[in-house]
Symmetry: C2
Subunit: 369 residues, 2 copies
Amino acid sequence: MSFELLAEEGGARRGRLHTAHGVIDTPAFMPVGTQASVKALTPEEVRELGAQVLLANTYHLALRPGAERIARLGGLHRFMGWDGAILTDSGGFQVFSLDHLVKVGDQGATFRSHLDGSEQVFTPESVMAIQRDLGSDIAMVFDQPVSWPAPAEMARTAMERTHSWAARCLAAEAVPGQLRFGIVQGGFDEDLRRESAEVLGQQPFDGFGVGGLSLGEPKSLTYRLLSLQTAILPRDRPRYLMGVGTPGDLVEAIARGIDMFDCVLPTRIARNGSILTRGGRINLRNRQFIEDAGPLDGGCDCYTCQRFSRAYLRHLFMAGEILGHRLASIHNLRLLVRLVAEVREKIGTGGLGQAMTSLRDEWALAPLP
Amino acid sequence: MSFELLAEEGGARRGRLHTAHGVIDTPAFMPVGTQASVKALTPEEVRELGAQVLLANTYHLALRPGAERIARLGGLHRFMGWDGAILTDSGGFQVFSLDHLVKVGDQGATFRSHLDGSEQVFTPESVMAIQRDLGSDIAMVFDQPVSWPAPAEMARTAMERTHSWAARCLAAEAVPGQLRFGIVQGGFDEDLRRESAEVLGQQPFDGFGVGGLSLGEPKSLTYRLLSLQTAILPRDRPRYLMGVGTPGDLVEAIARGIDMFDCVLPTRIARNGSILTRGGRINLRNRQFIEDAGPLDGGCDCYTCQRFSRAYLRHLFMAGEILGHRLASIHNLRLLVRLVAEVREKIGTGGLGQAMTSLRDEWALAPLP
């Protein structure tokens, strides 16, 4: 088994996932490098953040520069200069969420490229072939999420198709050293969510993504559906909550048995000068920071907080200097990686409950649903 | 004296300029950090390029975030986290070249801020006060360049005003540890250029900028006017050719007695994927690089060339990833800093002539005018 479950406390789990490019200590936050670049950062900077794994995107890389091209250039690790682990998203979310004509059938999905309008076809088999060419350490199966508020009937159709596609992904020739994760779906219906976790949990996947959540539904529903599925999914394999989330989401999802996360939030909000701090989110464009000589977050150990003031960062944003985006991204990512690491270290010590309470206070989280 | 002249060969000079923030080995190329940021780079990266001094801009920083504010935050070095030397341009070039209503009189210049349209007044005294607040190591006097092709009459008026302003800058209270450079002007007229070098060369400046060149006039004229002025300027003080230039310009200007350079070219063209290489300039957007696994320049020792392929850089530019801008800037800047350093090491060895010939071949430079 690639996954070692080291400790459990409350519903949370501490573990270790072995990949062809190193160990991932879980729970883990994965910075997002959609187009083979964690926005504005070098691989060394991503490593310095404490990240052991990053996410890249099958959909984007297949369209540009092309998976076969990346294979000819030595694979994704070499292409982007990252020697840690890489998880590749399957493209299911992009195919069904980007604004392009998509036709879905049992065979796969036909859609128009958002780059040049060309017709593209993704099938479970082609998506696995793309991920083989990329040479990622963890490949995700091709799935069909539904958007909120999808009626249960539509969610059932998409879920059953996702299950059938998952079986076809497993039937594709395995790539040596590449782990394969199934993706549970089920829309926003409790029965479907249970069913999806039961059906896929019986398949010999190396781990499981929980997909199709945090798409606009109330948080209380997100957490309830998540808890239903993690209670069913096999205990001996990692669970990855796809595309989530905020600091609060991370803490709450860990408490519900999630082991891995990715989210564009820290880099996306950084671009606008929005900064995660332990006192809440701040926006550097606010005039109150114009002569603030302090760091972004007094308790943060990131490069940005060690070297620069809020006043300087604010100046960079006001002046349109991209160094601002870069320094803010470093901080926001480090804050999430470190937050998850801090929770991880508590799991199994008996001190998790108290730590969670304190984090809930610190991050002003909503009470548990 | 702050300047040591260590060697001369042909018309070229090797020296050492002592500043409050370290030694500058000359000839030297100064990366441009107009708004207190060398675009996309951290101070550590600028240092790793081999730069000992960078340029920041009085005009831009006075308007935003304000020089007094930077003073309250501990000065420009602390504000931007750079512990090397800083030269601040006087703002003369910006005041007279940016597209904003400017009224000039003997007292100074009145213009509208390009940021908010507010009326601003720059005088020789106010410009020196701004540079005192910034705490730069080298302050430039306030000057009035003229654009090509300015008639001699107009150039004379501006030159005489520049001389009178230079005297007023010198009369302003000296800032301990801050060097003051005059700026020679004279438009595109040989007699005026000679006169300006003679008049200002008699003043007790710590060095001299050669301003108002490379503004659209033929290269042969640039070099002729430059040679006229360096032949007159005092041998024991450094000369800085402002806003120039290309690799070829650097080599030719060193041969004409120039000691310091700044230019936005390497970072500006980097933004568009344009790369300086010893085989000429290339544009990464060109399809020929789509699977080019080689570095930007095979002989380059920069971070980018050590770590990434042309194919990856091209992908970053095609995908709009700002890491591309950043990696290209590192390369282009390192190439110029290293080019100047290579020439510097030859000066006084007896091998300069041969090195210059080889550089002229390598960079496909025009024959000497």
